[in-house]
């Protein structure tokens, strides 16, 4: 059974509304971040890997610059 007579009362929570709602909102936001942040990191990672591959592919198709790079490393 719903404990409150009106939506307004539900929001007020007998004067404890701010505390209850603040707890729930903060908690849910932080928990949502736990799900969103790995997804964002994964997207960034995929972009990086694709870029790395592309660079490598370019290097292979252009052997002069590749030699240049390997010399630079040594």
């Amino acid at each position: 059974m719903f404990q409150f007579d009106s939506f307004n009362e539900f929001v007020q929570m007998g004067g404890h509304g701010p505390y209850v709602w603040a707890s729930y909102v903060i908690s849910l936001a932080v928990l949502a971040w736990l799900i969103v942040s790995p997804l964002l990191r994964k997207r960034k990672l995929v972009q990086e890997v694709v870029r790395e591959r592309r660079r490598e592919a370019a290097r292979q198709s252009n052997p002069v610059s590749a030699e240049h790079v390997s010399q630079g490393k040594a």
């Binding site: 539900f10 007998g14 404890h16 209850v20 729930y24 790995p38 994964k42 995929v46």
Partner: protein, 250 residues
Amino acid sequence: MWQWFHRLGSPRWFYQASGKWLPWLSLLAAILLSVGIAWGLGFAPEDAKQGNSFRIIYIHVPASFLALAGYYVMALAGAVGLIWKMKLADMVMKSAAPIGAILTFVALVTGSIWGKPTWGTYWVWDARITSMLVLFFLYLGVIALQYSYTSQDAASKSSAVLSLVGMVNIPIIYKSVDWWYTLHQPATIKFTEAPSMHPDMFHPLLVMILGFYCFYAVALILNTRVEILNRERRTRWVLDMLLNSKKGSS
């Protein structure tokens, strides 16, 4: 007998298998959490003494549970990584640390907000909150150690040692904080006495705890999967998968 163990230790196998579990687990977590929140916020009866502020329990207690359980998950994964040199366990441990720290943070924040209507102040050195705070420090130590090594392997091993030491310490810390609290404060309003709670209040709490467990599993798997991709980014299977999916989607 050992076959499944070795398979489980393979990041590639875990990545593929967890991809299959993930949608179901997420769905379960979402259902349990939404049912639990609606039930707790709107349908559970209000507490005779604390009124509606009592509804914070449905976040606070599950978060505290998982904060503590998360430390054990982290430490046991660290132990598995140390003993069997299992790379996957190291990745699980690394992912579990920030998740646990954030859950501890949630428990602390909700406990502190709850303290305002209950005790009239945002911070009370209550036994439960104090041990949560120490747990938070333990997590921060593991995370800080993890990020101060440049070598991934040394970082995993040293934070595994630290989390194991912390795991041995946790019961001692909880007991000592309890003892300290009884010395300085006669029991005032106690937060949670689950067994003596009215069933109408207890059932939504149970749903929320289950929901938090599922949520924790989802968050841990998601973070571990990214960690796997990051560390295996040079391997054939990761490259194949990422580049193919990129082509397919664009």
